[in-house]
């Protein structure tokens, strides 16, 4: 009953109204949440579905951000080309790195993903001619919305928004499309095979699954979607900086995934929402944000290993049963 409500669609429609109802600040926070939701969900394809814990997922986010940034700022490429390129390039990186990573298991796998991510970060940090080095690349242009303005004059509601708000709408639609694609993937036979690897890799091998090859495919897909999120974020952030690929970003996205719940598809999105809102709120009260975050995580990991989504799901199930029996 609760599962039949099209939650994804409802949230999407509600999010469309943010610029109309809220302030510029609200739109900014919503854009941030939407992009991180895609980033965290892409990581969950590895962590939650395939059972591979990556400590270096920010590498692909960073590659995507730089790809879009360089293409649009230095080469003047249109967004329609630069954004898919972010996914393709990040996916290609994930293919090369993943080739080595899937040969290791558990902590060794995690450490190697971290090592590759630090290499990516170091390249971004030092390669001044291409990436702008330490200073990064400020002033990434927005996509060209001139055509929307021209059309918008004739269609009600379409015209008259700020560029940043147009970009918010574009982000929302593209993230929704990406999440839809990811949702299809985890519900497909391929997604089932990934789940069987998470459950029991040895047994999966002996129902004829080439475990490494599937793990590599999951790694590439996760990297590509992280790259798409990065591509959106660079423009949203009005600049691309080396810390996009730094390990703290990797841990941040991993925390979101755990916080929201890696056992459910929308868990990581919820994690992104909660973590960003908490961050915004708590920072204005106290400078000890990491302390608060740490406490929240400890409580969550011990009390609700299924994350927020798991806890809410269990609660809803209990309420539902009680209502039915009453």
């Amino acid at each position: 009953m609760i599962a039949r409500v099209p939650w994804g669609l409802l949230v999407f429609v509600a999010a469309l109204f943010v610029p109309a109802v809220g302030s510029r600040y609200h739109t900014f926070v919503a854009g941030d949440v939407v992009i991180w939701a895609l980033f965290a969900t892409s990581l969950n394809l590895l962590v939650g579905y395939t059972g591979l814990v990556s400590f270096g997922h920010a590498a692909y986010f960073g590659v995507g951000a730089y790809a879009t940034g360089i293409l649009m700022k230095k080469l003047g490429a249109p967004f329609l080309l630069a954004w898919p390129a972010a996914g393709a390039l990040a996916g290609a990186c994930a293919l090369v790195f993943g080739f080595f990573c899937v040969r290791l298991t558990r902590i060794y796998f995690a450490m190697l993903t971290l090592a590759f991510a630090q290499i990516v970060w170091a390249i971004c940090f030092k390669w001044n001619e291409v990436t702008g080095g330490e200073q990064g690349m400020p002033e990434i242009p927005y996509p060209d919305f001139g055509w929307v303005e021209r059309w918008g004059a004739r269609v009600p509601l379409l015209g008259g928004w700020r560029t940043s708000e147009y970009y918010y709408f574009v982000t929302l639609v593209l993230v929704a499309a990406s999440l839809f694609a990811l949702h299809r993937i985890v519900g497909s036979p391929f997604g089932r095979i990934l789940t069987s690897i998470r459950e029991n890799a040895e047994r999966a091998e002996f129902i004829g699954v080439n475990v490494r090859r599937y793990e590599l495919a999951a790694f590439v897909l996760a990297g590509a979607f992280a790259g798409l999120a990065g591509g959106l974020f660079g423009i949203f952030n009005r600049g691309v900086f080396p810390d996009f690929a730094y390990w703290t970003k990797s841990s941040e996205v991993l925390i979101m995934t755990l916080l929201g719940g890696m056992g459910s598809f929308y868990g990581p999105s919820i994690g992104a929402l909660v973590l960003i809102l908490l961050n915004q709120q708590i920072v204005s009260y106290t400078e000890y944000w990491p302390l608060v975050l740490g406490t929240v995580l400890v409580v969550l990991l011990f009390g609700f290993p299924g994350g927020i989504a798991g806890a809410v799901g269990a609660l809803a199930g209990r309420l539902f049963r009680r209502l039915r029996s009453a």
Binding site: S188, F190, T195, F206, G208
Partner: protein, 245 residues
């Protein structure tokens, strides 16, 4: 069907399997017995590609398959069940078997179709024949030990193997469960024309269904033949049966 020639494996200088040879003819039911530590499971792992032999060959249907990866051996018609139960614990019983069908049918690289309806009839049919149809939607990890063993057999059968290797199929079962499960295995083997090779420590089970028995002791074959011959073999009585009788 299956020929094993001079297979050997050394672990840190310890000769776990020391040059074992035997044949499993097509359509036969063979058993490998031996006391604990005789090398039965290691031998199985060598045949099924989990371990790489230091010497010797494994030939399946006339093809040398020594050292092939397990997922490749699966495609060549070699199915296996494990001594420890080995299933996908957090998937349902239905999903467990369905996944095996998906993999076997080569549908694993399909990223677009919904998975729920695929191989539905085949899965339900197989669950029926292994006696788990009424538990299809239970989470596999919550089944009884015997139930999980049955499910594991289902996973192996979904791959339509020509030869099935069962490593202690009744380990940890009660007497009643053992009897049922052996009857089930025998029936399925006959129905599907399977070649069967199993290890077992329950002698009653072995002598009731095996047509050919190979006795392993300290990594070597000390006797092989029909159940009666093996039972009479003085060497076997001394090192193995003698421990119990």
């Amino acid at each position: 069907m299956l020929e094993v020639r001079d297979l050997a494996k050394i672990f840190d200088g310890f000769l776990a399997v020391a040059g074992v040879s035997f044949d499993v003819p097509s359509g036969s039911i063979g058993a490998i017995i031996g006391p604990n530590g005789a090398g039965k499971t290691t031998l199985f792992n060598l045949i099924t590609g989990h371990l790489r032999p230091d010497r010797g060959r494994v030939v399946l249907n006339g093809r040398d398959v020594t050292g092939l990866a397990p997922h490749d051996l699966c495609r060549l018609g070699l199915g296996r069940s494990f001594q420890r139960t080995n299933i996908f614990p957090r998937l349902t019983v239905f999903e467990n078997v369905q996944t095996a069908f998906l993999s076997h049918g080569g549908r694993g690289w399909n990223l677009l179709t919904r998975v729920e309806r695929l191989y539905r009839d085949e899965t339900l049919g197989l669950l029926q024949s292994i006696g788990l149809a009424d538990r299809a939607h239970e989470v596999a990890g919550f089944l009884s030990h015997g139930g999980q063993k049955q499910l594991e057999l289902g996973l192996a059968l979904a791959l339509e193997p020509k030869i099935l290797l069962l490593d202690e199929p009744t380990a940890g079962m009660s007497a009643a469960e053992t009897r049922d499960s052996i009857r089930l295995i025998e029936r399925l083997a006959r129905e599907r024309g399977l070649t069967l090779l199993f290890t077992e420590h329950d002698m009653e089970v072995v002598f009731s269904i095996a047509e050919r028995i190979t006795v392993l002791h300290q990594g070597r074959v000390i006797a092989a033949g029909a159940p009666d011959e093996v039972r009479r073999d003085p060497g076997v009585r001394r090192v193995y049966l003698g421990e119990r009788h």
